[in-house]
């Protein structure tokens, strides 16, 4: 088992931007980004579902790429630009957010921040994803309510609108 005392890192403070705002962190640098966002910045849209990169609920963008915030330690984030669901679109009208609402995707809604963040990256890199593209991009995201068929449909609807 790890030694929590030795593991605690207190190097120089970490400076990063979150949703465009500059932030500094000088706590235990083993802290995953997830808990920094939630506990230190009160950005609670990013969710904890498993803590081990198995569910996708905590997905954010780090320097434009999707990342599981439960796995990204603060020590690795100096100078990084982080975008969370709160910062995806200024008025919450990213084409995916709009499509999600048109199709009434969410049931409980808990997994949806992570799903939308992952899908946003998919559409950036692949504006017209096939069913297979969607399956492989989204397979790391669990929705226990079972909204998968609607997520597929919403991604396609948003892709169509963007094109």
């Amino acid at each position: 088992m790890s030694d929590p005392i030795r593991d605690a890192e207190h190097g120089a403070p970490i400076t990063l931007t979150v949703n465009g705002t500059r932030r500094t962190f000088d706590g235990d640098q083993t802290m995953p980004l997830l808990w920094f966002l939630r506990d230190e910045l009160s950005l609670t849209g990013t969710k904890y579902g498993c803590g081990i990169s198995q569910c996708g609920a905590c997905t954010v963008h780090v320097n434009g790429a999707p990342a599981r915030s439960c796995q990204r330690r603060m020590s690795t984030l100096n100078g990084a630009a982080v975008t969370t669901i709160e910062g995806l679109h200024s008025s919450g009208e990213h084409p995916l957010q709009v499509a999600w609402r048109e199709i009434d995707v969410p049931q409980c809604g808990f997994c949806q921040s992570g799903q939308i963040m992952q899908a946003a990256n998919l559409l950036t890199s692949n504006p017209a994803p096939s069913d297979q593209d969607i399956d492989s991009a989204m397979t790391g995201h669990i929705c226990r309510c079972g909204t998968y068929p609607r997520i597929r449909a919403a991604i396609k609807a948003a892709a169509e609108k963007q094109s």
Partner: protein, 806 residues
């Protein structure tokens, strides 16, 4: 192109009322965040009932509440507000303010089923409200005020539809009478329409808000004036409606259990006994206390089994943030005494359950003479089935925030049952429930886990110990290893058929540790009446039946999980019927239809069910077993699924099953594709549902989509096992659930149009799915799976014989 065009199976049936497109959007955009303000109440001895009414009245406007004895206007002089008055029992509250804003109090918890949309849309429709002016407010836990708030058993609409409608219709009548009085015209000349009352002859209109002052003072409308709308008059009920929480849910603004923040709040992560009934022997917390951010270690006393809703106890790490609390717990060195359940082992227990179903049990339903019918049958078949423990594994692990100060407890939690939470916290802390307030956040999935308030008690206990607000955060590992699990179950079925393949005898024995064992000592197994949850209430036409409950002792906390025992009953019965069809050499669907027999409406309490002959809380008069409804959904599913079309090639197959549960009838045809390595994909599922009147069809479809996907998890992947009394699995890595790739391409849901009494929607889609999936796998591969999960059992299927032992 509308987004819905990408759901071809929805597009045909989702035509929205064109009148409400904009209005519903503006509700979606309205501020619907949960109120988290502190109540600031004082005076512990004030009658809380009276206090709450007074608070509502203090807000001004017109308040209508509907309960079992009709709808009333709340007034300062209300008899029910006098000290010592009989408590009155309203459930639905509607307030119309002078500015026209309509506030509807939702007394049920939102966990993905859509009740925060469905309840207001029923009331607003009956009121003739302007949807853009409607707001939803979440009720705190208060049973005297709101009636049962326990959001389980798929009861929100089936128990409350009539009251919601009556509340709305009363407001409408009152508004019409107020306008008629103001204008000096006959009430028959005016009508409410979209938030205002119209006098057609003169073209005058007046908004609901402007009518509030008069509506508060005139006499209440006569009972004959309170008229529920005809189906043709409805604007929203039964139609496509946009859910109201979509904006917060898609922008990260929805407030769930762990999202409530109070100043000075601490975070606690708790090491709980890994074995049910286990105890802490020794704790070395020196390393934990050195973790930066860890502030205190607090012992929570263990609750011995049956621990019911109380916490398991253990060692809590109190920290400044969640990460420190998690690391602090990792650093604890605890010696546990497992106690008597430390020998619980799933492999051994499976053998115990199987032995149990090979002995006669206690009859839950007895019809005719099964032994003689079996003896004289021309063909006999028997099979045994096994379903392991399952966990809800809802995406949001439980979390709760509590603040205990000055003898008052205030908690914020994703609870399915705020009233149970309030009462249990009060019992646990030994305070008066009047001093406990439980606010309900959104639930990140519930599925039954969040009916149990143990985690809320933990937060309250720790807040009192620490003297600060405390949020208890369960990790995913905690969620899987210290939950209230779905019962493990074994089944034995025997049947006899005559020469024509008609089933003449049916013996069904099931053994599973009972939920009752979580609440009472020495519970030897399920009560015979519990078999009404999907085993003794089957719709089949069989002259000789014995349905028996066999012994099984619980060694872990057992709880409700979406559709409860109907999960394993449905799997066993659905599979066995298919096995009988194969044995009889008949098409599975034809066989199922003939097994239902001629259409009958049966009061099962007079057809062999033992007392009390439960019927999901309803009477057998209101909700008899109606085999015609069962037959019609089966035929609908056959018809829409393409069952009769050309046979699918090897590796693909369809399976069918029907189940009545929670007063609804659901038939399902699942089409599977099994890859050479045994991976199962589901190209298509056809679901036919007769749930009586369905208020919100889109959410009903969503529940069916979710039900098949959750049933795929239950059937194909998920399993909780025990070794040395402890749960073996720890996270989604080894507790696997359905993911995107395997999820159905198409879920084609057909809702039978009906004005009948509503049945449940949230659960009834699960029970038929297990059997339908297993039957489809058999059709595709020739492998009959009798023990769940399917897991790797299909590996190498292509090399195996095409027929199993039968």
């Amino acid at each position: 192109m509308s987004g819905r065009d990408f759901l071809p199976w929805l597009a045909a049936s989702s035509a929205a009322d064109p009148a409400l497109g904009d209005a519903s959007d503006s509700v979606a955009g309205a501020s619907l965040e949960l109120s988290h303000s502190a109540s600031g109440e004082s005076g512990a001895t004030v009658n809380t009932h009276r206090r709450d009414f007074m608070k509502l009245l203090g807000l001004g406007g017109l308040v209508i509440a509907a309960g079992p004895f009709g709808a009333r206007r709340l007034e300062a002089a209300d008899r029910s507000l006098a000290p010592g008055a009989e408590p009155w029992d309203p459930h639905a509250y509607v307030r119309v303010a002078e500015d026209g804003i309509v506030t509807i109090t939702c007394h049920r918890s939102e966990m993905g089923q859509g009740i925060r949309t469905t309840m207001p849309m029923i009331i607003a429709d009956e009121m003739e409200a302007d949807w853009a002016m409607c707001r939803v407010e979440q009720a705190v836990g208060d049973e005297p005020k709101y009636g049962s708030q326990n959001t389980d058993g798929s009861t929100s609409i089936r128990d409350f539809l009539g009251k919601y409608r009556e509340a709305g219709a009363t407001v409408r009548a009152l508004m019409e009478e107020a306008a008629a009085k103001e204008w000096g015209v006959a009430v028959s000349e005016v009508s409410a329409r979209n938030g205002e009352v119209v006098h057609t002859a003169s073209g005058r209109t007046r908004g609901f808000g402007a009518l509030v002052a008069t509506a508060r003072t005139i006499a209440m409308p006569a009972a004959t004036r309170i008229r529920i709308k005809t189906p043709a008059e409805r604007r929203w009920e039964g139609k496509q409606m946009t859910s109201i929480d979509l904006v917060p849910m898609t922008t990260g603004k929805g407030v769930y259990g762990a999202d409530v923040i109070l100043p000075g709040m601490k975070v606690a992560v708790i090491a709980r006994p890994p074995v049910w009934g286990g105890k802490v022997v020794r704790v070395d917390d020196s390393a934990a206390l050195k973790v930066p951010g860890v502030e205190r270690i607090v012992r929570i006393p263990e609750t011995p089994p049956p621990s019911a809703y109380f916490p398991l106890g253990g060692v809590a790490v109190i920290a400044a943030n969640t990460w420190a609390a998690i690391k602090g717990r990792e650093a604890l060195k605890i010696t546990w005494d497992g106690g008597p359940n430390a020998t619980y082992d799933s492999a051994a227990y499976k053998a115990t359950l199987q032995a149990s179903v090979r002995q006669p049990g206690k009859a839950g339903r007895a019809v005719g003479d099964v032994p003689s019918a079996l003896a004289s049958a021309s063909r006999k078949l028997s099979a045994e089935y096994y379903v392991p423990h399952l966990s809800h594994a809802q995406m949001e692990p439980v979390a709760a925030l509590a603040r205990v100060a000055n003898g008052k407890v205030e908690a914020w939690a994703p609870t399915q049952s705020p009233m149970d939470a309030r009462n249990t916290v009060a019992q646990y802390l030994k305070v008066d429930p009047a001093n406990v307030t439980v606010h309900v956040t959104l639930l990140g999935g519930g599925f039954g886990r969040k009916s149990k308030p143990d985690f809320i008690c933990e937060a309250a206990y720790l807040s009192r110990e620490v003297g600060a607000p405390v949020r208890v955060q369960w990790t995913r590992e905690d969620d899987l290893q210290n939950s209230y699990l779905h019962s493990v179950a074994a089944h034995r079925l025997e049947a006899g058929m005559d020469a024509n393949g008609k089933v003449t005898a049916w013996l069904h024995r099931s053994a599973y540790p009972a939920i009752g064992a979580t609440f009472a000592p020495n519970v030897p197994g399920p009560q015979p009446d519990e078999l009404t949850n999907g085993a003794s209430d089957i719709p089949f036409d069989i002259p000789n039946m014995s349905i028996e409950a066999c012994q099984a002792v619980a060694h872990t906390r057992i709880g409700w999980y979406r559709s409860v025992n109907a999960i394993h009953h449905g799997f066993a019965i659905g599979s066995f019927v298919d096995e009988l069809a194969q044995a009889a050499g008949k098409d599975s669907a034809d066989f199922l239809v003939s097994l239902l027999g001629a259409d009958r409406s049966v009061d099962l309490s007079k057809a062999g069910l033992v007392a009390p002959a439960s019927n999901y809380g309803a009477s057998w008069t209101d909700h008899p077993l109606d085999t015609g409804r069962a037959r019609r959904v089966v035929e609908l599913a056959i018809d829409k699924s393409g069952w009769r079309s050309a046979r699918l090639p090897r590796g693909k197959g369809r399976g069918i099953a029907i189940h009545r549960s929670f007063l609804s009838y659901v038939a399902m045809v699942v089409e599977v594709e099994v890859l050479p390595d045994g991976t199962v994909l589901v190209p298509r599922t056809t679901v036919a549902v007769d749930a009586g009147f369905i208020a919100n069809p889109d959410r009903a479809r969503a529940q069916m989509e979710g039900a098949i996907i959750m049933a795929m998890s239950n059937t194909l992947y998920s399993e909780i096992t025990f070794a040395q009394g402890k749960v073996v699995q720890s996270n989604y890595r080894d507790y696997q659930v359905t993911r995107m790739r395997a999820a159905p391409r198409v879920v084609d849901v057909h809702l039978v149009p009906s004005e009948g009494l509503p049945g449940g929607i949230g659960e009834p889609g699960v029970p038929p799915a297990g059997g339908a999936i297993a039957n489809a796998l058999f059709a595709a591969t020739g492998v009959r799976v009798r023990e769940l999960p399917v897991g790797k059992q299909l590996a190498g299927w292509m090399a195996r014989a095409t027929d199993s032992e039968g």
